[in-house]
Amino acid sequence: MLEIKNLHATVDGKAILKGIDLTVNAGEIHAIMGPNGSGKSTLSYVLTGREGYTVTEGEVLFKGKNLLDMDPEERAGEGVFLAFQYPVEIPGVPNTTFLKEALNSVRRYRGEGELDAMQFVKLVREKTKMLHMSDDMLKRAVNVGFSGGEKKRNEALQMAVLEPSLAVLDETDSGLDIDALKTVADSVNLLRRPENALVLITHYQRLLDYIVPDHVHVLAGGRIQASGGKELAHELEARGYAEFSAGAAA
């Protein structure tokens, strides 16, 4: 589904990604772990086409198409979703309005025809019910005044509505207490489909107790330093990133 080959990227002229190779197949869950500042968020922004993140070398194929040629909204239309580390507040825009705009934009891109207000409400109700969320959150302005946990659940709701084939979750666990973490993890697990894939970006392994990855990669110094099964996450938890960071510096 996703093939990243020798990806190099700079931010503000500074090289952050220095040759990433990663293949993600449908149905798989990959965890990318690494110390702060190692380029995890940068990777997620490069994949989603954020301005200011310049690819200097390498390629990214998504379902065989060159992702790097597309605008952010086209990538979203193709089915790439990023759950933000810091979900953005949009004052005055009700969550439902935002969701409807997003869904209909993606549907238009896919040539599926827009949902009218009735159809949309029905769909959102199903999703909130599935995720055990209250409809109250739909009326509030996007992420404004949301608690950390609510923001992350809201990301999960957007994911549920947009049904992406590839979801990248950037530090979805950060800032959450254990109950909130479980709730969000449950939501994500509910959204798993054999035809879809997940990339979990995380600093700590505790999220991986709830969403169990098939593959774990260590990102340090702009490169993937090691890959393995889920046991790698436990090793990292025990030993820390020091040896990888050292390796990266060398």
Partner: protein, 483 residues
């Protein structure tokens, strides 16, 4: 502005075969330029009584001596008042395009984006249509409904004939002819506009807006609107049009006067989308408007809501004079400027009565190389004990070549008054736009969404049906402003 009666008249006039009116309405134009003769010509054309002619002439003579208003930030070359026509009869529809195929496709594209139905598109584009005839019956029904409750809603020229005592009593009572140069000119040469009278205790059964579009093509350069709400009455009036409007006259100087008596409420909403000119601002309309409401009665209320997106230059300060004790004035404004547009807009809240309250919510959005100023005066008179004002001004900048300014004037002569002012200026956030785009929205849709959120408090004041179009208009006005 639309007047139901006028609609019916025009609809009749359209059917030239049936009524043979064409030569009549295709009558002469006043000679070019402005003089006492022009004023007399207009007055004669309208068959006005002597007192009105005298009033116009007084205004004209005063106008000659008046300087241009100097306080605003807008800049433009001096206006050549002699290079205009001040009266021309309505054009025959046969001059217009025969079908939508002949209309500028760009204009049609905008109509489509606004979601304007096909029949109305034809009306707006000035296409001669039989569809108008569908509206005759509707207009007649409306007229009947209004008559039943005693509401008068007609062109002001008709009110001069049929309700001279009302017009004479209230015309110029809120905006005196000598108020400012633009209002003075309007007093001398106004050609039409609406007159509304709501009798005591009557709640106007409909928004006086429903048919605004029919006449939108002929709003005229110097409109004059007068709305009177008697004791305990209520009316909601809507002027303007989301569709872009063009006009060969560059200067538009309208005057709107509102009078609310005891316990009466007037809600006045405007969507202004005059042609802003090309990207360099060439050819755009100068919209110099004087709007003022007098809350004469106790517990009366006047609420202005405006969405200003058009014009090369906007100069307008819809104001409230809060004379009656406990009266309330509100001003909700969205002003969007793009390219080379300039807007200097705001309000004046003049607190004279006890416990008068006012609320100002102004949202300015500037993009391109445009310049947007909020200018607001809150004055608390010596007798206005317990008066309260709350002002919130927010500016949103898109790009780094535009400007936004907030100029509040606060004058308080009563210590038992409370005046609060809050102001913010921010730039449209890259984070917000990227977030929206990551969810699939185009850059332009993202801008429209974020800006609409920024304006929400004001949008919510608009009548529902109109708000939907106004929201789309926000997006259209800002097209090409980012990226």
């Amino acid at each position: 502005m639309a007047a139901t009666v006028e609609t019916v008249e025009r609809v009749r006039a359209l059917d030239k075969y049936k009524y043979g009116f064409v030569t009549d309405i295709e009558s002469e134009t006043a000679p070019k330029g402005l003089s006492e003769d022009t004023v007399r010509f207009i007055s004669a054309k309208k068959g006005e009584p002597e007192w009105l002619l005298e009033w116009r002439l007084k205004a004209y003579r005063h106008w000659l001596k008046m300087p241009e208003p100097g306080w605003s930030k807008v800049q433009f070359p001096p206006i050549d008042y002699q290079d205009s026509y001040y009266y021309s009869a309505p054009k025959s529809p046969t001059d217009g395009p025969k079908s939508l195929d002949e209309v500028d496709p760009k204009l049609l594209e905008t109509y489509a984006k606004l979601g304007i139905p096909l029949n109305e598109q034809k009306l707006l584009a000035g296409v001669a249509v039989d569809a108008v005839f569908d509206s005759v019956s509707v207009a007649t029904t409306f007229k009947k409904n209004l008559e039943e409750v005693g509401v008068i809603f007609c062109p002001i020229s008709e009110a001069v004939k049929n309700h001279p005592e009302l017009v004479r009593r209230y015309l110029g009572s809120v905006v005196p002819y000598a108020d400012n140069k633009h209002a003075c000119l309007n007093s001398a040469v106004f050609t039409d506009g609406s007159f509304v009278y709501i009798p005591k205790g009557v709640r106007c059964p409909m928004e006086l807006s429903t048919y605004f579009r029919i006449n939108a093509q002929n709003t005229g350069q110097f409109e004059r609107t007068l709305i009177i709400a008697e004791e305990g009455s209520y009316v909601s009036y809507l002027e303007g049009c989301t569709a872009p409007q063009r006009d060969e006259n560059q200067l538009h100087a309208a005057v709107v006067e509102l009078v609310a008596l005891d316990d009466a409420e007037i809600k006045y909403s405007t969507v202004q989308n005059w042609y802003p000119g090309d990207e360099e601002g060439k050819g755009g309309i100068y919209n110099f408007v004087t709007k003022r409401g007098a809350c004469r009665g106790r517990n009366s209320k006047i609420s202005w809501t405006q969405v200003e997106t058009g014009s090369a230059i906007t100069w307008k300060y819809p104001s409230c004079i809060l004379q009656g004790d406990n009266s309330v004035g509100e001003f909700y404004s969205i002003a969007i400027t793009n390219n080379r547009q300039q807007a200097d807009t705001g309000t004046k809240m003049i607190h004279l009565g006890k416990n008068t309250r006012s609320r100002i919510i102004a949202k300015g959005i500037a993009a391109g190389r445009s310049d947007s100023t909020y200018r607001g005066l809150v004055r608390i008179g010596a007798k206005a004990a317990g008066a309260r004002n709350f002002t919130q001004c927010d500016s949103l900048l898109i790009g780094d070549k535009c400007g936004a300014h907030t100029v509040p004037y606060i004058e308080t002569k009563n210590r038992r008054a409370i005046v609060e002012h809050e102001a913010t200026t921010s730039r449209i956030s890259e984070d917000q736009l990227f977030y929206c785009r990551q969810r699939g929205m185009s850059q332009e849709d993202a801008v429209a969404l974020v800006v609409n959120g920024f304006c929400r408090e004001v949008m919510q004041q608009l009548p529902m049906e109109f708000a939907v179009e106004a929201q789309k208009l926000v997006g259209i006005s800002l097209e090409g402003s980012v990226g």
